[in-house]
């Protein structure tokens, strides 16, 4: 019997939620790593029992955990993230230059083909790779050469939060950084190209800024790797040429600010966002928690509300806290800063909370199990 495993990272530990394919009855495991911030957990696509978790605190720094049994047991692995060479400086909030300093791992992205190879997106922004199951980490320094001195931190820090591997081209990887923008490598990470043409950001009122944009999240459907969808600080964007250029597809959204974006598992033109009120409020417009779905790849959006609170709701949904499963009836999942994890087993038509009282949710990933 197939099923799903939902990996939830929170402000105070990790939780693993499991169900069969009906997705009605859930078992909750956790907290794992209690008291630590778990920015992200992710499983290997080729070995679902191989999981990686990023745990950190401001007190004790960064720890990487690895599991070989689907999260029942864990072992700490390597946590030495040393920038290659002298890392130099980047732009600070006030326009001065500021030294590059490692703070934490925001994103762990296991290889599509090898369970021992995993990428880590870190703050201050850089991309690391391990080829030995997380024991040792090496930076791919070419990324910071893509105008790194002009990158700047967003409100959450200067974080590399999105890593997308092209399933049709092992040499091509996309990453996104707040607030630097989106980048692409076509040679396995040796050199990187800023891919931000068409992005406009009020915070950098200069024409055609090549970097410095606060990209919040990017999503891609594996069957159509040249089409990318982006939730930016403001604006929902789409690229049909691997990021070479972008067009706005915010359409009729009540707010085009938000954090996560996701693509339906079986419909490459169906995408999901969660509009958020901003600047600085960062809660749903009108106190109504609404996921918005476009079946047209953007521009035309419908509100999905059944089962979601439609009054007095003032939570946020962070950039890594929206995910989909790949069961026949696609499941959609998201976590909130109020500690709820909602699930829909019908592509967003209706929702139910799996759990309601976790610590603030930082990330949600879903594994579809055979």
């Amino acid at each position: 019997m197939s099923g799903v495993r939902v990996l939830v990272g929170t402000h105070k530990g990790a939780f693993i939620l499991t169900s069969d394919e009906r997705r009605k009855d859930w078992q909750v495991s956790g907290p794992h790593f209690a008291g630590w911030e778990v920015y992200h957990m992710h499983g290997s696509p080729v070995d679902p029992n191989r999981l990686y978790a990023s745990q950190s605190t401001g007190w004790f720094g960064q720890v990487i955990q690895r599991s070989n049994d689907g999260g029942q047991t864990w072992e700490p692995v390597g946590n030495k993230f040393a920038y290659d060479g002298v890392p130099g400086t980047h732009l600070w909030y006030d326009g001065t230059q500021h030294p590059w300093e490692f703070k934490r791992v925001w994103r762990l992205e296991p290889s599509l083909t090898d369970p021992d190879t995993v990428y880590a997106g870190v703050e201050d922004a850089a991309l690391f790779r391990s080829t030995d199951g997380g024991q040792n980490w090496q930076e791919l320094p070419g990324l910071r050469e893509a105008k790194g001195h002009l990158w700047q931190p967003g409100a959450g820090g200067m974080c590399l939060h999105t890593i997308i591997q092209d399933p049709s081209n092992a040499q091509r990887i996309y990453v996104a950084i707040s607030a630097a923008g989106a980048f692409r490598t076509d040679n396995g990470g040796q050199t990187w190209l800023p891919i931000n043409q068409g992005l406009n950001s009020g915070e950098i009122p200069v024409t055609g800024a090549e970097v410095g944009h606060c990209v919040h999240n990017i999503a891609m459907h594996p069957s159509r790797p040249n089409v990318l969808f982006m939730q930016k600080h403001w604006d929902v964007m789409r690229s049909d040429n691997s990021g070479d250029s972008w067009n706005e597809v915010s359409g009729n959204l009540p707010s085009d600010f938000g954090f996560p974006i996701a693509v339906h598992a079986h419909e490459p033109n169906t995408i999901y966002v969660v509009p958020i009120k901003s600047d600085s409020e960062h809660f749903p417009p009108d106190g109504k928690l609404r996921v918005y779905r476009s079946r047209t790849g953007g521009n035309e959006w419908e509100a999905l509300t059944k089962g979601l609170p439609q009054s007095d709701c003032y939570v946020n949904i962070l950039r890594s806290a929206l995910a989909v499963d790949s069961l026949d009836s696609c499941g959609i999942y998201f976590g909130t800063t109020g500690g709820q994890v909602y699930a829909s087993s019908d592509s967003g038509g209706s929702w139910m909370p799996i759990v309601s009282n976790l610590p603030a949710v930082l990330s949600v990933e879903v594994q579809t199990l055979p």
């Binding site: 008291g35 007190w59 720890v63 700490p76 946590n79 040393a82």
Partner: protein, 98 residues
């Protein structure tokens, strides 16, 4: 035998109870204690001091015999009461809420 008290989060990470015991050949200093501690519990590397610079993490403090040793050189000898195990060397997380 030297007794070392480490914070709750690190006890959980290392899978130990309140105090851990380590053995040091030679001069007993903060640096030697941390070297021995990280050798016995590799998962603690990077959680108390930076793995590259060896600088104490900002929210970590060191105490011995009721004295704050945080700002002392990592190479000076520690009190004899710590050396003989009569008093523990205390690694403490800063009182900063959270």
């Amino acid at each position: 035998m030297i007794r070392v008290v480490i914070p709750h989060h690190l006890r959980t990470l290392a899978g130990v109870s309140q105090e851990v015991e380590i053995y040091i050949d030679g001069l007993v200093t903060q640096g030697a204690i941390l070297d021995a501690l990280e050798s016995k519990y590799p998962m603690l590397r990077g959680t108390i001091r930076d793995q590259i610079t060896k600088e104490r993490r900002p929210f970590i403090r060191f105490f011995a015999c009721g004295e704050d040793m945080s700002l002392e050189s990592p190479d000076i000898p520690l009190p004899s009461a710590v050396v003989i195990g009569a008093e523990p060397f205390r690694i403490v997380g800063a009182m900063a809420g959270g």
